[in-house]
C-alpha cells in the first residue's frame, strides 16, 4: 500500500505533463503556439500536435470560420442630396493571418470588430456622400457595397483580417423624412385614383357616344330603306291610277271628283250655302224640271 500511493501520484503527474504536451486543433480553429511569449508557430491544419509543457510553450486558439458583425441599430448617413438615411449593415469577416491579428489587436476579436466598424463607417460615409438615395436603394447598391467592402478589406489586411462581404441590410429614410415620403406616396395614390376614375368616366362616355352614334346610324339607315319602300308604293299607285285614268280621263275626273266631294263634305260642322240655280235644285222649285 505504501508503494502504491507514490506510484499513483507519479503516474498522475506523468499523465498531467503528457497531457499538457499534447493538444488538439479543431477543424474550425487556428492554433498559435507561443514559446515564452514569442510566437513559435501557427498551426492551420487540424489534428493532434505536441509541444513543450507550460510555461515553456502555450497554445492559443483562434476562430477560422466566417464571423459576423451585425450591429443592432442603424447608423445615420447623409446622401448627396442632403437626405438623412438610416443604414443597417452587417459584415462577414474572418481571421486569415493570426500573427498580424495578434500583434495589431492583441488577438482580441472585440478590438478587431471595433477597428472594422470604424473603417466601415468611414468608407460608408465617403461612399454615401457621393450617392443619391435612389442609387443607394437600387441602381448602385452593389457598386456601393463592393467599394466599401474593398476599402474595409484593405484597411483590415494589416490586422490579419479578411472582409468577405459587406451588406446593407436596411436602407431606410430617417423618421422625419419618412413622414414626407408617406405624404408623397399618398399624393401619388390620389393621382392614380383620380386618373383611374377619370379614364373610367372617359371610357364610359366614349362607349355611350359610340352607342348613340350607332343608334342614329341604325335608325337613319332604316329610315332610308323605309322611305324607299314607301316611294315604291307611291310609284306603283301612280302607275296604277295613270293606267286606269288613261282609258277614260273625263269619266275618271268626274268619278274622282264625286268621291272627293263626298269625302270633303261629310260632317255636320260643314256648312254649305246653297244657291237654287244649281243643277241639283232643278226640280226643287219647278216640278217640270224647266230651268228658270
Amino acid at each position: 500500500m505504501q508503494k502504491i500511493v507514490p506510484a499513483v501520484i507519479g503516474l498522475l503527474i506523468a499523465i498531467f505533463v503528457l497531457m499538457s504536451c499534447v493538444f488538439v486543433v479543431d477543424q474550425r480553429q487556428f492554433a498559435v503556439v507561443y514559446a515564452l511569449g514569442e510566437i513559435r508557430k501557427v498551426i492551420d491544419a487540424p489534428g493532434l500536435y505536441f509541444k513543450l509543457p507550460p510555461p515553456f510553450q502555450n497554445v492559443v486558439y483562434y476562430d477560422k470560420r466566417i464571423l459576423t458583425i451585425d450591429t443592432s441599430e442603424s447608423d445615420r448617413f447623409i446622401t448627396s442630396e442632403k437626405l438623412n438615411v438610416m443604414i443597417d449593415t452587417f459584415v462577414k469577416w474572418r481571421i486569415i493571418d493570426p500573427p498580424s491579428f495578434i500583434r495589431s489587436v492583441s488577438g482580441s476579436e472585440q478590438i478587431a470588430v471595433d477597428r472594422i466598424n470604424r473603417s466601415l463607417r468611414d468608407a460608408l460615409n465617403n461612399e454615401i456622400a457621393r450617392r443619391t438615395v435612389s442609387d443607394m436603394i437600387s441602381s448602385a447598391r452593389d457598386q456601393v457595397v463592393e467599394n466599401v467592402r474593398a476599402k474595409v478589406n484593405d484597411d483590415s489586411k494589416q490586422i490579419g483580417v479578411e472582409v468577405i462581404d459587406v451588406r446593407l441590410k436596411r436602407v431606410d429614410f430617417a423618421p422625419e423624412v419618412s413622414e414626407r415620403v408617406f405624404a408623397r406616396m399618398e399624393s401619388e395614390r390620389k393621382q392614380v385614383a383620380n386618373e383611374r376614375r377619370a379614364t373610367g368616366a372617359a371610357e364610359s362616355e366614349k362607349i355611350r357616344a359610340e352607342a348613340d352614334r350607332q343608334r342614329e346610324v341604325i335608325v337613319a339607315e332604316a329610315y332610308r330603306e323605309a322611305q324607299q319602300m314607301r316611294g315604291e308604293g307611291d310609284a306603283r299607285v301612280a302607275q296604277l291610277f295613270a293606267a286606269a285614268w288613261g282609258r277614260n280621263p273625263q269619266f275618271a275626273a268626274f268619278y274622282r271628283s264625286l268621291e272627293a266631294y263626298r269625302q270633303a263634305f261629310g260632317s255636320k260642322s260643314d256648312v254649305l250655302v246653297l244657291d237654287p240655280s244649281s243643277e241639283f235644285f232643278r226640280y226643287f222649285k219647278a216640278p217640270d224640271g224647266s230651268p228658270k
Binding site: Q29, G47, I66, S138, R189, E210, E225, N248, F265, V271
Partner: protein, 422 residues
C-alpha cells in the same frame, strides 16, 4: 447495495439517456468553450462513480480472484485492478457507440479533423473520446425563418418589414424563408453561426429582399410581380449564402403579406377602389350601349315594317280603287248620260244629308244679306259634337242674296281642317 447502484446509474442526472444526440444544433461556439460532447462527460462521471463504489466495496462483489467472502489480498487487489482496467477499457471503447436518428447526419472528427460523414440512420461506432468525436446535424428538418413578423403575420416587426422600393416608396412586407442544411460539412465548419443558427439566413434574407424590392417599383412589389420578386429574392439569398459557403439550401420563400404601410393604406385602398370605379363606369357605359343599340335595332325594324305595310296598303288600295273605277267606267260607257246623272245625284244626296246647309236665292235678294257664318259654324260644331237634333238648318227663305253662292263650296272658310284628304 441499492443506494450506490442508483448513484451509478444516476437516475436523477438530467443528461442521462440523451446520449450524443444533444450535440446537434449547437456546434461548439468559440474555441475557448470547446467542451466535449455530453456522452463523454457522462462516461467520465460514470467511471468516477464506479471507482468510488469499488473502493468502498473493497475489491468488488464478484472479484474472480478470491471468491465470495475472502478478505482482499495484495494479489487479489492486483488482479482486481487488472480487471478494473479491462472493464474500464471496454467501457471506454463502448462509449464510441452512438445513434444517428432518421433524417440526421453525423460528422466524425478525429483529433478535431474532419474524418467522415455518416448519413445513414442507426447505430454507429467511432473511436471513443478523445480520439474521435462526432457532431450530429438534422439535415432533413425544414427550418423556417420569419422576416417582418414573429409567429403570426399580425405580429409585425416594423423594423424588419418596412422597405424601400425603386420609386422610393415604402412597403410593408412579411415573408418566410424555408431552408435545410444541404452540405453538413460546410454548415458546421465554415461559419460561426453564433447562438442562433438561423441568424445567418435571416441576415441574408433581409438584405436580399431589400435589394430585390429596391429594384422594383411599388406597384410591381404590391400587385403585379409579387411572384417574381419572391423568386428573385430566393435566388439572391442562395447566392449570398453560397458566397459564405454556408452549406444551407433555400427551399422556399413565401411572401406572407405585402401591403402599403399603415399611414398610407387608406390612399392605396382608395386607388384600388378607383380601379373598381373605373370598371364600374365602363360597365355602366356598356350597359347603356347594350340598352340603346338593341332598342335602335328594334325601332329600325319597326320603321321598315311600317314602310312595308304602307307600301302594301297603298298599292292594294290603289289596285282596289282603279279596279272599281275601271268597272264603273265600263258600265258608264254603255249609258253615259244616265249614269252620270245618277251618280251625281247620289253623291249630292249623301253630302247634303250629312252637312249643314243654308239655302239662299241670290238672284231674288237685292239687299245685302247678313249671314253670321261664325255663329252658324259654332252652332253646327256644337250640334255635331252633341249630336242633338237633326240638321240645324236655317232654311228660312231669305229673299235677298247679294252674291251667288257657288254650288260647290270651295270657300276656304268652310274647309274642314282636320279632314285627311286620303
Amino acid at each position: 447495495m441499492w443506494t450506490p447502484l442508483r448513484s451509478i446509474f444516476s437516475l436523477n442526472d438530467p443528461g442521462w439517456g440523451r446520449g450524443g444526440g444533444g450535440a446537434d444544433q449547437r456546434p461548439p461556439q468559440r474555441p475557448g468553450n470547446d467542451g466535449p460532447p455530453d456522452l463523454d462527460e457522462l462516461w467520465r462521471d460514470f467511471n468516477r462513480r464506479l471507482n468510488s463504489l469499488f473502493r468502498r466495496g473493497g475489491g468488488g462483489p464478484r472479484g474472480p480472484s478470491g471468491g465470495g467472502g475472502e478478505p482482499p489480498s495484495m494479489k487479489g487487489a492486483g488482479a482486481g485492478l487488472g480487471l478494473l482496467v479491462l472493464v474500464a477499457v471496454l467501457l471506454w471503447l463502448a462509449s464510441g457507440f452512438y445513434i444517428v436518428q432518421e433524417g440526421q447526419a453525423s460528422v466524425v472528427l478525429r483529433f478535431g479533423e474532419y474524418k467522415q460523414l455518416v448519413d445513414r440512420a442507426g447505430f454507429t461506432w467511432r473511436l471513443p473520446y478523445p480520439i474521435e468525436t462526432n457532431e450530429i446535424v438534422n439535415v432533413q428538418q425544414l427550418r423556417t425563418v420569419e422576416v417582418g413578423y414573429r409567429n403570426a403575420v399580425r405580429n409585425k416587426t416594423l423594423r424588419e418589414s418596412l422597405m424601400l422600393t425603386l420609386d422610393q416608396s415604402i412597403v410593408d412586407m412579411q415573408f418566410t424563408v424555408q431552408y435545410r442544411v444541404g452540405d453538413v460539412k460546410a454548415y458546421l465548419f465554415n461559419n460561426d453561426l453564433g447562438p442562433v443558427p438561423e441568424e445567418i439566413v435571416r441576415q441574408a434574407a433581409e438584405t436580399a429582399m431589400r435589394e430585390t424590392v429596391g429594384r422594383n417599383g411599388v406597384d410591381q412589389v404590391l400587385y403585379e410581380e409579387k411572384e417574381q420578386v419572391a423568386q428573385a429574392a430566393r435566388k439572391q439569398i442562395q447566392s449570398i449564402l453560397d458566397r459564405y459557403q454556408a452549406g444551407i439550401s433555400i427551399v422556399d420563400l413565401t411572401i406572407q403579406q405585402v401591403q402599403p404601410p399603415e399611414q398610407v393604406q387608406a390612399a392605396f385602398e382608395d386607388a384600388n377602389k378607383a380601379a373598381q370605379d373605373r370598371e364600374r363606369l365602363i360597365n355602366e357605359g356598356r350597359a347603356y350601349a347594350n340598352d340603346v343599340i338593341p332598342k335602335a335595332r328594334g325601332s329600325a325594324a319597326r320603321l321598315l315594317q311600317e314602310a312595308e305595310g304602307y307600301r302594301q296598303r297603298v298599292i292594294a288600295s290603289a289596285e282596289g280603287d282603279t279596279s272599281r273605277l275601271n268597272q264603273v267606267a265600263t258600265e258608264y260607257a254603255k249609258a253615259p248620260q244616265v249614269t252620270r246623272d245618277r251618280m251625281y245625284l247620289e253623291t249630292m244626296e249623301r253630302i247634303f244629308a250629312n252637312t249643314s246647309k243654308v239655302y239662299l236665292d241670290s238672284r231674288a235678294s237685292g239687299n245685302l244679306l247678313y249671314l253670321p257664318l261664325d255663329k252658324l259654324l259654332g252652332q253646327a260644331g256644337a250640334d255635331a259634337s252633341s249630336r242633338a237634333g237633326g240638321s240645324a238648318t236655317s232654311s228660312s227663305g231669305a229673299h235677298e242674296t247679294p252674291t251667288p253662292a257657288p254650288p260647290a263650296p270651295r270657300s276656304d272658310g268652310l274647309r274642314s281642317r282636320d279632314r285627311d284628304s286620303r
